[in-house]
């Protein structure tokens, strides 16, 4: 007991601890890139809970292309959620196309429709697959590219 109290006093002496406020933690994690965000899930229980929040992954997806409209949110949720969307589609596409910043204009619209289309195909493959074979229509995104 004394040790814990000692630590608590020590923290109070330092000031704010990152785990104190989950919403603020979510704001911070939402600014990470995909890999770091996935790694953040293994830090502790709170981080795992916060980093699995859809809003965090939605913010990550929106960093590339705007997925923010209400209709999109409903469809993405129905197809499996922003986390899956990022891990299966948006992330690999961004890696493959070497995109750094946010895209606007017609390219953004094309990227949005392409990633949503691929996501819907992936979701469709997962339906009633029954464990016979793992869905792999997005396998081509995970194949390593020879950059030599």
């Amino acid at each position: 007991m004394g040790t814990v109290q000692g630590e608590g006093e020590h923290d109070k002496a330092r000031g704010y601890h990152i785990n104190d406020n989950a919403d603020l933690l979510a704001e911070i994690l939402a600014r990470l890139d995909g890999r770091s965000l996935a790694a953040a899930a293994s830090v502790c229980c709170l981080w795992r809970a916060v980093s699995s929040k859809e809003s965090v992954w939605e913010a990550l997806c929106n960093r590339h292309v705007s997925y923010a409209s209400n209709g999109t949110r409903a469809v993405v949720a129905a197809l499996g959620g922003y986390r899956r969307l990022y891990c299966r589609c948006v992330g690999p596409i961004a890696d493959r196309l070497l995109v750094t910043g946010r895209e606007t204009g017609p390219t953004a619209a094309v990227r949005l429709s392409l990633s949503m289309s691929l996501f819907s195909i992936d979701c469709y493959e997962r339906l009633v697959v029954g464990g016979r074979q793992s869905p792999s229509s997005l396998l081509f995104l995970r194949n390593t590219v020879d950059v030599s």
Partner: protein
């Protein structure tokens, strides 16, 4: 460029029709190929040829059936001293005839004692062997056209031996073509009972879908044309001439769900082949699509039609039942989608015209057609063979370069293409359903049936380009726009073409 691949581009023009000394004037040809750059095969230089009358007197091989290799061997002897002795040692055991050509191809390795006692050095010039492989394939096809099946049979064995020394796409293509030629020569009919293999064919097509972008390109470009044709409509009906696993439709439904103003109601009629087993794949696929549609809140209705041939369809079967139309004032807008289905109809005269008339009678807003870009429905066998060889070797080349994860997909895709190769080469008449024609030819046929071209928009082009950029090896794929149609090719060769049509007038 992959040296194996470049072999198919060696100019064949100089070798034919000039010398009377033999089948291949290979000494000249080989000399020219040393310095030649990559050039396309000169198809006009392949006339139907006379049988070789005699061959160079230097040929010690007395067997008439090996006449083909007489001058080949001479040409080689002039230029090569150290050759791969493993060729002769790998000659097939009991098959003397096959061994002979191999032995005569590499004369120094067997007959020349000086070389065999020297330290064996293995020098395989795969490019040279690749050229011989192509020559052997063409020669075999020539013999088949002239119905000289005995010589053709020997050539097939030769092809297989040559192919075994190659690697990669070239070996596989040569093996599939050799098998198809063997089937034709030895009349191994029927090739397979198509109806029993429907589940297998579906599985193969899924692997093909996953390993390369051709089907995805077809689906995405067709969907874009359909979406643009359907803007503002509230009741949609799509008729799919070959539903397979329904992989095209989730993307379309998702795009409809995201349409501003909410999703329209969507009806899908999927057509599939007859199955002898009891599984009802059409209904299963329809059920899966319905589940997805329910998840994304798109009003969806599915109907499956089983048809032995598309020509069995009548317009009244495809049209929506009148009761559905009475419910709302909004008329139903129809799209018809045909992916790699129209070419099969060319096997029976009149079928294509009937199907196009049926399509016209249904009055679709848009008719999307995707077909292979190849010209192997010609009369003479040798022309068909050459074109198919070029087409499928390009296809196989584009499949190479896959990581270990995608290996199984690649192998199964090759089997899928191999089935087509077998059909093109070994079948005739109604059995030969893989009859490919070029985009220009299809445009002529479809325009003649009363349609006019609907240009595919820039959105389709951009989406297709971005899709291809995602594929490893993506810089080999090319999307091109050709008078309102889109083609996808590998390097300079277009392989499939998408076009969209509306009723004329």
């Amino acid at each position: 460029m992959d040296p194996n691949f470049s072999a198919f581009h060696m100019p064949l023009a100089p070798m034919f029709g000039q010398s009377s000394s033999g089948f291949f004037d290979t000494s000249e040809n080989l000399a020219s190929t040393e310095s030649s750059t990559v050039a396309s095969i000169d198809l006009s230089a392949l006339p139907s040829r006379k049988k070789p009358r005699g061959y160079d007197s230097g040929n010690s091989n007395q067997d008439n059936d090996c006449a083909m290799y007489g001058s080949m061997k001479n040409g080689l002897r002039d230029r090569k001293r150290m050759r791969n002795s493993s060729f002769s040692s790998s000659s097939r055991g009991g098959d003397r005839q096959a061994a002979n050509p191999v032995g005569s191809m590499m004369p120094n390795s067997v007959r020349d004692p000086e070389v065999s006692s020297a330290t064996p050095v293995v020098i395989i010039d795969t490019q040279e062997v690749g050229i011989h492989l192509v020559h052997a394939l063409m020669a075999c096809a020539e013999m088949v056209q002239e119905e000289n099946y005995r010589t053709a049979g020997i050539l097939v064995k030769q092809i297989l031996v040559l192919a075994s020394s190659q690697g990669g796409a070239m070996r596989k293509v040569a093996e599939y073509f050799a098998e198809a030629l063997a089937r034709r020569i030895y009349r191994l009919h029927p090739l397979r009972d198509r109806s029993l293999d429907s589940a297998f064919s579906d599985a193969l097509q899924m692997h093909f879908y996953e390993s390369c972008p051709y089907l995805k390109f077809a689906h995405f470009t067709a969907n874009q044309a359909i979406l643009e044709a359907f803007t503002g409509c509230r009741r949609l009906h799509v008729i799919d001439f070959s539903l397979n696993q329904g992989m095209q439709w989730p993307a379309l439904m998702q795009a409809l769900a995201l349409r501003p103003g909410g999703p329209p109601s969507f009806r899908l009629t999927g057509i599939g082949p007859t199955h002898t087993d009891n599984t009802d794949t059409l209904q299963q696929v329809g059920y899966k699509l319905a589940q997805l549609a329910e998840n994304i809140h798109v009003d969806f209705e599915f109907r499956g039609l089983v048809a032995g041939s598309l020509a069995d369809l009548e317009p009244y079967i495809l049209e929506s039942p009148p009761s559905a139309n009475e419910e709302s004032e909004e008329p139903e807008v129809v799209a018809i989608n045909s992916i790699f289905e129209l070419h099969r109809l060319l096997a029976r005269p009149g079928d294509l015209e009937k199907v196009l008339a049926t399509v016209r009678a249904v009055k679709p807003r848009i008719f999307t057609v995707v077909e292979q870009e190849s010209n192997d429905n010609t009369g003479p066998f040798i022309e068909r063979f050459t074109e198919a060889l070029h087409y499928y070797s390009t296809m196989f080349d584009s499949l190479e370069g896959v990581t270990s994860e995608g290996q199984q997909d690649q192998v199964m895709s090759e089997v899928y293409l191999g089935q087509q190769i077998c059909n093109v080469v070994a079948c005739e008449g109604e059995e030969r359903t893989e009859r490919h024609e070029t985009l220009v030819q299809w445009c002529g046929r479809i325009v003649g049936a009363g349609f006019e071209l609907e240009h595919l928009g820039s959105n389709a082009f951009k989406q297709a380009s971005m899709l291809l950029a995602l594929f490893a090896g993506g810089d080999g794929y090319r999307v091109e726009e050709k008078e309102g149609c889109l083609t996808l090719g590998w390097h300079t060769r277009p392989l499939i073409a998408t076009s969209a049509w509306r009723l004329a007038g």
